[in-house]
């Protein structure tokens, strides 16, 4: 009996501190947040919390900005996930060739990833606005004029920024996967006279599938949750046309003080991120090959 009490105490001595912080910071606010999504609440005075049932959720369907932000984010996520993975994979293929510059190139491609999105967004704001207008003057090309001033250039500005920042990250994961492919497999294919393309298509791509799953999952949830870059590059402008989901939730809460409504959005946001992630991992798991 005493032995079991001692064991229990020891268990909580080791596990307790982390569990405590996890509950206070994540679990309790998460559950509390679900409760608040059914209330009218301005976030300041507790006594003004009023139960309104599903009203906040129903109102979301009429919130045009929210629906717009939702589709904008979805479109952004799809486009940037494809570009980041495509370019990341191409870069990985490139730097795993026996090049003299291989190491230097890896260093450069990965570098943006370590710097905060907020800082990078500011740097690219300078490039899109100031440097692009210099380019427009220099090359006499209208293409470079007015970037970030329209919804379309804002969208592509965000895509370019994210692709530049994250491609190196996926590259690193793809490199690890490429290097784990047994070299005798590739040599055998070479002896059989297969071309670089067919080697890539029939050996490399199927064997890199697990890395593809990981990268898709990470980039998709990353793109969906994007906030810092959105804030520093476009701040949602012009006229909220590049406002993504995370920013929409933030603004609903802190600019308009509609905490209940913001929290309903946050719950929907969670469900979307969770469901998309789970579906995506399931789908990709099916296609993986064992060797």
């Amino acid at each position: 009996m005493q032995e079991s009490i001692k064991r229990r105490l020891l268990f909580w001595a080791f596990v307790g501190p982390l569990v405590f912080a996890f509950f206070v910071v994540v679990v309790v606010p998460f559950l509390w947040g679900i409760y608040y999504s059914f209330t009218e609440w301005n976030g300041i005075v507790r006594s003004q919390v009023e139960w309104v049932g599903l009203q906040n959720y129903i109102d979301l369907f009429e919130d045009e900005q929210f629906i717009y932000s939702f589709w904008f984010t979805a479109r952004f996520a799809v486009v940037s996930v494809i570009l980041i993975n495509g370019i990341g994979f191409a870069l990985a293929l490139l730097v795993t060739q026996p090049l003299r510059t291989s190491h230097a190139l890896r260093t450069v491609f990965f570098m943006p990833n370590l710097i905060g999105g907020l800082i990078l967004g500011f740097v690219w704001q300078f490039i899109f606005i100031q440097v692009f207008s210099s380019l427009a003057d220099l090359l006499n090309l209208e293409f470079f004029r007015g970037w970030l001033a329209t919804p379309e250039t804002g969208f592509w500005g965000l895509v370019i920024l994210m692709t530049w920042q994250m491609a190196g990250y996926t590259m690193v994961i793809y490199i690890a996967a490429l290097q784990s492919i047994p070299s005798d497999l590739l040599e055998a294919a070479e002896i059989d006279g297969s071309t670089l393309w067919s080697k890539t298509r029939h050996i490399i791509i199927p064997l890199v599938a697990p890395a593809f799953t990981i990268n898709m999952f990470l980039m998709l949830s990353n793109s969906f949750k994007l906030y810092d870059q959105n804030l520093s590059l476009t701040n949602g402008g012009p006229f909220n046309s590049t406002q993504m989901l995370a920013m929409n939730i933030y603004n609903t809460a802190f600019q308009f003080d509609e905490m209940g409504s913001a929290q309903a959005k946050a719950v929907i946001f969670f469900l979307v991120v969770a469901v998309v992630s789970i579906i995506q991992v399931r789908m990709n798991k099916k296609r993986e090959v064992e060797y």
Binding site: A21, S102, G116, V123, S221, A266
Partner: protein
């Protein structure tokens, strides 16, 4: 053979070209940070006529850079210290305890990886505000919570590969559980501790949203928070802003070049596991 060589030469050329494109934003930032305001508006592409060091002096002062650096360092180091300690302890104990409770706890931590920050941010800030926790120490506590899932997950995976006989031998030698953990287990966890430290450093050092909600007092801001100094106004002072951004990037670059091998390995492990 020549075909192979020609192919490699082509790859080398393409690679360098892409490398230049990737590096271009940093290059542009750097050359323009040494220009005066009118020079930037004239042309952003040419090299600066002279080096306008005063941009850096002003940016350094206005950002209160040393204070911001110290704040970032304190918050990052404090959070990592606690996370490494508590997550390694919990990871080890959870693996070694084969009960339902233990698996349920682990499962909860893992599932929480799916919860985006925005889904907890409003109640969290309200609760922390009531507890008087909206300061640097409170921030460290919040990082302990938000970093717990990933850190525990990594430690948990690693401990599984540590043979149980090691624990038993140490206990027979008369070690207490705490001694066993401190002297035997924790040192074995070093490789994964390094990975955890790297992943947490990248995240916490660069994090913006959470500190922006928690820290609201002058002199307590981290580096990312201070960046807004140059972007609040209507007329942007790009010459100062670019110098400030360069200052903010320098510590990260130093970190990158001094530990590149470990960073790449850590990031790969963190993603794959």
């Amino acid at each position: 053979m020549t075909r192979k060589k020609r192919f490699l030469f082509l790859m080398e050329t393409i690679g360098s070209a892409i490398g230049v494109v990737f590096f271009f934003p940093f290059y542009i930032m750097l050359i323009n940070s040494f220009k005066t305001k009118p020079q930037i508006f004239q042309n952003t592409l040419n090299l600066p006529g002279g080096l306008e060091w005063s941009n850096y002096v002003k940016a350094f002062e206005r950002l209160d850079f040393m204070q911001a650096f110290a704040n970032s360092l304190f918050i990052t180091a404090g959070s990592i210290l606690l996370l490494v300690l508590f997550a390694s302890m919990a990871g080890w104990k959870l693996v070694r305890t084969k009960t339902r409770l233990s698996s349920v706890i682990f499962f909860m931590f893992v599932s929480a990886i799916l919860i985006p920050f925005q889904s907890v941010m409003l109640p969290l800030i309200t609760i922390m505000g009531k507890l008087g926790f909206l300061n640097r120490l409170g921030l460290i506590f919040m990082y302990l919570g938000f970093g717990s899932s990933l850190s525990l997950f990594l430690y948990h995976g690693f401990v599984k590969s540590v043979p149980k006989e090691l624990d038993e031998a140490a206990i027979i030698d008369g070690c207490s559980e705490f001694q066993l953990f401190r002297k035997v287990i924790f040192p074995i966890l070093n490789p994964i501790t390094l990975t955890v430290i790297i992943l947490l450093t990248i995240w916490i050092w660069n994090d913006y949203l959470l500190p922006s909600l928690v820290i609201n007092k002058e002199g307590m801001q981290t580096i990312p928070l201070q960046m807004f100094f140059f972007f609040g106004e209507y007329t942007k002072q790009w010459h100062l802003a670019l110098a400030g951004l360069t200052l903010a990037i320098i510590p990260v670059i130093i970190f990158y070049f001094s530990a590149q091998k470990y960073i790449i390995r850590g990031v790969t492990q963190g993603a794959i596991k």
